[in-house]
Symmetry: none
Subunit: 421 residues, 2 copies
């Protein structure tokens, strides 16, 4: 326990390799691919080898620092994964799929080079280096991983944009055609504005629902424009994808980014919240949507402890729906291809973080959330049409453009009607 507090003041990045990325203690070199200290290195290895699963006593957001790195093993392990420690670099206890023999336990005798029979690969390196199937990626796989990394990086900007005070005064078409703010270096480097106060909550009013939906839509549009395949689509196809996700994208965002105020509460960044209580002034059918969000989205996301990177991938997978209405037949294929690229990269990401066994289970559960998304998309499309038909909801021009594909007027942009919450 070296008590020596490192002078963190040196902003020199070249020293970064000497600091443990997990706990900021002095690093003793690269371990499992990450500059880290002996403690975090050993902790990571032990956790994986013993297949331990921890639970955070709080809300899974504990800060990990040298002085308190032992306080929450769940968050410490999550931090290890977050900074990129690679469980495939752990040698014992290998991937159960590509069966490799291990020669541990009692005899250190390595005379039994052949060990047990089954040796699938032509070359069997006796003592396994962490190479092989893991680091050897094809060019295609690397491209897929780059795509996923881009999604992850953008996702890390989403909350910043969501909490910010930006005002978009564009029509839907203009917003779709403009360059994404997520690709604007000035925005990327801007600091996160102080989070809203989540301690003072108040029930959401109609104005809150409208305000936040339109805000999430703008975020969805800015986000979509960062996806390579999306940029290449015709305007009509872009709008078709946006329309398909118009209901579910805000729902996913709101479920994932709400602070944990219990299993029945979803909070908007301004402190407005809703829960299971009925709200008679809202159109019928929206109560059902609330239950679906709480039971079928929020709960599994929480239970699975979906991390932001998995969430980034899931959002894109469900958004890039080649079966969405009104897509031109020619564009379905490239969309499906990109979707497959993301699923493949997501799977590799999960294997790296969770191991192949848990990854398969987790991957399946996450993809099956697609059924929930699809159900909500269809049901709410119906409900929205009905609500509009009976004029229960006064949709803004922006909303009508998005939900119903109302033709854009020749020249003037229809400004977003921002409702002050």
């Amino acid at each position: 326990m070296a008590t020596s507090v490192p002078d963190a003041g040196t902003s020199n990045g070249s020293q970064a390799e000497e600091i443990c990325l997990v706990c900021n203690d002095f690093s003793t070199g690269y371990h499992y691919g990450v500059p880290s200290c002996n403690g975090c290195k050993t902790f990571f290895r032990r956790t994986i080898m013993k297949k331990q699963v921890f639970a955070c006593q709080y809300n899974g957001t504990c800060t990990i620092d040298k002085s308190i790195r032992c306080a929450c093993r769940h968050c410490r392990f999550e931090k290890c994964l977050k900074v990129g420690m690679d469980r495939n670099a752990i040698q014992q206890n290998r991937d159960p799929i590509g069966y490799t023999k291990r020669t541990r336990r009692y005899p250190p005798a390595k005379t039994l080079t052949a060990s047990m029979g089954v040796s699938p690969p032509a070359i069997v390196p006796q003592s396994q280096s962490p190479q092989q199937s893991v680091n050897e990626l094809t060019a295609e796989q690397m491209a897929e991983d780059v795509l996923l990394q881009t999604l992850m990086q953008v996702e890390n900007q989403v909350e910043k944009l969501r909490n910010s005070n930006f005002v978009m005064q564009k029509s839907l078409i203009e917003a779709v055609l403009a360059t994404s703010i997520f690709l604007d270096p000035q925005f990327i480097e801007s600091p996160m504005e102080p989070a809203h106060n989540y301690d003072i909550l108040r029930p959401a009013k109609m104005a809150d629902y409208h305000y936040w939906h339109e805000r999430e839509w703008v975020i969805m549009i800015e986000w979509a424009k960062t996806i390579p395949v999306y940029k290449e689509l015709d305007l009509a196809d872009k709008l078709a994808l946006l329309r398909y996700s118009a209901i579910t994208y805000p729902a996913m965002i709101q479920c994932f980014y709400t602070p944990d105020k219990g299993p029945d509460t979803i909070v908007f960044p301004n402190g407005a919240y809703f829960d299971r209580n009925p709200e008679p002034e809202r159109p019928a059918g929206f109560q059902r949507k609330k239950f679906q969000m709480l039971d079928n989205l929020l709960k599994p996301l929480r239970d699975m402890r979906v991390d932001i990177n998995e969430f980034a991938a899931a959002k894109a997978i469900f958004f890039l729906n080649p079966d969405a209405d009104d897509l031109q037949p020619d564009t379905r294929h490239p969309i499906a291809e990109t979707r497959a690229s993301i699923t493949n990269a997501l799977y590799r990401y999960m294997v790296k973080r969770r191991g192949s066994e848990e990854a398969a289970d987790r991957y399946g559960k996450l993809l099956l959330l697609g059924t929930v998304i699809a159900t909500m998309a269809v049901e709410m499309k119906e409900a929205v049409v009905v609500a509009d038909f009976f004029e229960q909801v006064k949709f803004s021009p922006f909303a009508k453009e998005l939900l119903f594909g109302v033709k854009h007027e020749a020249n003037g942009g229809t400004p977003i009607s921002v409702v002050t919450p």
Copy 2:
């Protein structure tokens, strides 16, 4: 914690290290820099961590000895400091670790394997036995694989039943409650009847659609009764699952088992077929369903060359939808568990047959068909309701029971209206 025992030269040092410098009890090693016993070690830590301050009842000169070390906490703590215990060696609170007594309970969850039954094993499995990693499947995994194998075996009977001339004259409720024909040894051993002649095709008429839908429903019911978790459900939950899949189960069956007459044709076993041609006599909305079946189900099933075993798993995964309407809350969890068991077993099956790389891609694509299924389920539920409302379709009593949950009449069974094709 390199001990760096400084005893090198001291003659009697070897003896002193075995004695607690605080109370002269046997020491258990160095604690906080001083050879000390467990009691004094723990006492010192507790005192520091709880920031306790003691007062001596006498004059602060109490002797501390093993027999009376608890008599005066003030003087005991002073003695700790005097012999050199280092308060800087006290660390922060750590994460709680749970039970440590081996005579109590089973370890803190995580291993769902032996969750059933009482069986607290004398030896806690929590300890490290790094075995089981490679070829060895856990008992849980083996149970999952057995479940999948059962589904596969039943699936191999489906076409036999579908092509047979069986006539079910039962009401929905009776069919649900009876024993599955798939579990009847007599049926299992019966030979497959000669397949229908798929060379002579004719366009399907309304009667064909009705006939085959009701027939697929009967097959669905017989099939569902072979799923262990399904058997345990209440009648209402059984009906809820059947209702959810009432549209999509026949669609999946028809897509998978149709002979390949080109990408736009689906053939029933009696030679009746349909394709993309509009059929004005059918209700609006059914044309859309046909396109969905051809484009979103038949095409991917063909493109992926889904085999019958994968199909068996997929059917069950989509059928066991824990989010289906009207399910009781308590039954959602066991359904989700079984669904996860099947997905896991399916993944292992794919890895075995295709290798881990292709398996991940294939597994993802197959599970994402769930979005198609969910979309069709919801849309057709709407369409069916509308169709019934406008009486465009004369639903049979059996169909009404299934689709709308019409109450079963007290005694008489409502016979299936078998339309001769």
